[in-house]
């Protein structure tokens, strides 16, 4: 499959669609009007398709899932968050979730595209042709996308909680989902994120045990710390020890920690098989 546009051009187009959703949503909020959830959803679908095309072209160029530098990691995380929104957004009919998702994905996409140094080095064959390692990496990043959406629903929860406690329920607060719905979405997203990350780490661990020198301790520590933190938060929530606003704040911190851990993961990247790996300077 050939394309007249480059992978980065596709990704720029996707970012612009996400930005349009965010801007039209903001305009609607300022005017105190509900924005068209169907129209925005369609725009998100178009943006998502363009991003998928861009990631597909990049993946083909690097010979695997495009997770070789910060740019690719952020793009993949944004794509994961959008994937989930497109499923969850329909289920919960939450146009505000689309608005916040567009805000996050536009920010992640534009920042990653705007900093050329993050995409200066393109590693090819970073998984050494091992589909299980690739699966592990893709799942891990997908779980980070889940945590991104969790952070958004947590933010919406905090805004809704603030509006109800402070008795400012009019304006654009009225478009937020209910407290209970947001809480339920948050618990389910956290559960999904922990499950996906657990599977990812289990797959990664199986290969790491065979070749312990292939992965840096820093990377293992960072990833396991995020997983353990998420699992503890989930346990506390299910045990009704961490609730409402405190749970929402913790989820926001968890996503920030997950983003920070990407630095450790990327900085300590080792090729699975040096012979199969190449570095391309763009």
């Amino acid at each position: 499959m050939s394309s007249a546009l480059t992978d980065r051009q596709w990704l720029w187009i996707a970012a612009e669609f996400y930005l349009v959703v965010f801007l039209t949503g903001t305009f609607a909020q300022v005017r105190g009007r509900p924005h068209s959830s169907v129209f925005n959803y369609l725009l998100m679908v178009v943006g998502y398709t363009c991003q998928l095309m861009g990631l597909f072209l990049r993946g083909r160029a690097v010979g695997g899932c495009p997770l070789g530098n910060y740019f690719e990691i952020l793009q993949f995380t944004a794509w994961s968050a959008t994937t989930l929104y497109l499923v969850i957004g329909v289920t919960f009919r939450s146009s505000m979730l689309g608005y916040f998702t567009a805000c996050l994905t536009a920010a992640l996409s534009i920042v990653s595209l705007a900093i050329p140094s993050w995409d200066a080095t393109r590693r090819t064959g970073i998984f050494g042709g091992n589909p299980w390692i690739e699966f592990h990496a893709a799942l891990a990043l997908f779980s980070y996308g889940v945590f991104a959406l969790l952070a958004l629903t947590s933010l919406m929860f905090l805004l809704r909680n603030y509006s109800l406690k402070s008795k400012r329920v009019g304006g654009w607060f009225s478009f937020l989902p209910s407290i209970l719905d947001l809480d339920h979405i948050g618990v389910r997203l956290l559960g999904a994120g922990v499950t996906i990350l657990t599977i990812s780490l289990a797959v990664g661990a199986a290969w790491w045990l065979r070749k312990t020198e292939s992965v840096d301790v820093l990377k293992i520590l960072a990833t396991v710390a995020v997983w353990a933190a998420a699992a503890v938060v989930l346990g506390l929530r299910l045990g009704r020890k961490l609730l409402a606003g405190r749970f929402a704040w913790t989820c926001l911190v968890l996503f920030a920690a997950a983003l920070l851990s990407l630095w450790a993961v990327n900085a300590s990247r080792h090729p699975a098989s040096p012979a199969a790996t190449a570095v391309v300077k763009s």
Partner: protein, 366 residues
């Protein structure tokens, strides 16, 4: 009023006080009987009757100048009201103004509770009744059908119906903001007063089925519970059972607090992950204000709810001119279509029998 053509005569909450509207209101049987009488009235080609608690209006198409006067006389005679007295409270509009008025009525712009949507259904029912009795003909068919389109357009393109403007409905909206779907929500009504009852009914109207009434007088609680199809709870058990409810409506006349901070804290320990919403409609207040500081507990008192209702009302009022402009434009366009049609009626030998309404040629839609 003494001209042929489209007219509306009646009385509304703008023109008549409630005591007069009570006397003018028509029951179902009286309305049917009046319909039959007007159906045989010479010179009255079409008519429809809109009757609600806030208005009684006759929309008609008169072939002669006397027809509207006769409608008024027939109505006054039936209600044992003198014509002179009725004219003090009378609304009387003709032609384009009558169309504009109907547009405003159907879109809630003329309602006592500005922007309410119930009136739309009532106008639809009035039109359906006119059709069923074959008193709506080409002119009224077109006018009413365009009215429904205009009212929908006005609601879509303005914020005239946005936000609740009654305390009870504001409280229910807040509960929706907390719980989402109210179907499984359990509501405890403390006190059996009128405002509490209205709020309980508003909750039931939005799907809440688990309603319990607790009043200091158990027999009153039982009575209200029966009328609402709810359960009753001995008043002294209210705090011990607090954890079983999602929404607590306080509307007693008790001089002291009836739900304490301690009891609420204990209840929340049993249900920490489910919000508890207090609606305190009582004066003096029923719910300890300190509960508002608890996690997952929300407290709104009468002032809070009234402020929100007032804000919503103000927002609706700010939309009046926009909404009216939209309707005026539509009414003028419709009048341009209808006026020539009405002009044909006054010509000698215009279609159908001139004296009777119940002729089949008048019921075909425009």
């Amino acid at each position: 009023m003494n001209e042929p053509g489209l007219f509306v005569i009646g009385a509304t909450h703008h023109t008549a006080p409630i005591e007069v509207r009570e006397k003018l209101s028509l029951g179902a049987e009286a309305a049917a009987s009046l319909h039959a009488e007007l159906g045989t009235m010479p010179g009255l080609r079409e008519f429809a009757l809109v009757s609600t608690c806030n208005r009684i209006e006759f929309y008609g198409v008169a072939e002669t100048a006397e027809a509207a006067v006769c409608v008024q006389a027939a109505f006054c005679a039936r209600q044992r009201f003198t014509v002179e007295e009725f004219e003090k409270f009378r609304l009387s509009l003709r032609g384009r103004h009558a169309v504009q008025h109907l547009f405003e009525v159907a879109s809630g712009l003329d309602s006592q509770m500005l922007g309410e949507t119930e009136i739309f259904g009532q106008v639809k029912e009035a039109y359906a009744a006119a059709q069923a009795r074959r008193s709506a003909g080409p002119v009224l068919n077109r006018v009413f059908q365009k009215t429904f389109q205009a009212a929908k357009m006005a609601r879509t393109h303005s914020a005239i119906t946005e936000g609740r403007v009654s305390v009870a409905n504001v409280a229910v909206d807040l509960a929706v903001n907390i719980f989402g779907d109210l179907t499984g929500t359990r509501v405890l009504l403390l006190g059996a007063g009128e405002i509490g009852e209205k709020t309980a009914k508003a909750f039931q109207g939005r799907g809440a089925t688990g309603l319990t009434v607790a009043s200091r007088r158990l027999e009153r609680a039982m009575e209200l519970a029966t009328s609402l199809g709810a359960g009753a709870l001995p008043f002294e058990h209210r705090e011990a059972k607090l954890a079983d409810f999602d929404v607590v409506v306080g509307s007693t006349s008790a001089p002291d607090l009836v739900v304490s901070h301690g009891a609420t804290t204990a209840a929340m320990r049993k249900r920490p992950d489910r919000p508890l919403f207090f609606i305190d409609l009582a004066l003096p207040r029923d719910i300890d204000p300190a509960v508002a500081g608890l996690q997952n507990v929300f407290l709104y008192n009468l002032d809070d709810l009234a402020k929100i209702a007032e804000r919503n009302r103000a927002a609706r009022e700010a939309e009046i001119s926009k909404c009216r402009a939209l309707l005026t434009e539509r009414a003028a366009a419709l009048w341009q279509q209808v006026e020539p049609q009405i002009g044909l009626l006054s010509r000698p030998g215009a279609g159908g029998s001139p004296d009777r309404l119940s002729t089949p040629d008048k019921v075909s839609p425009a």
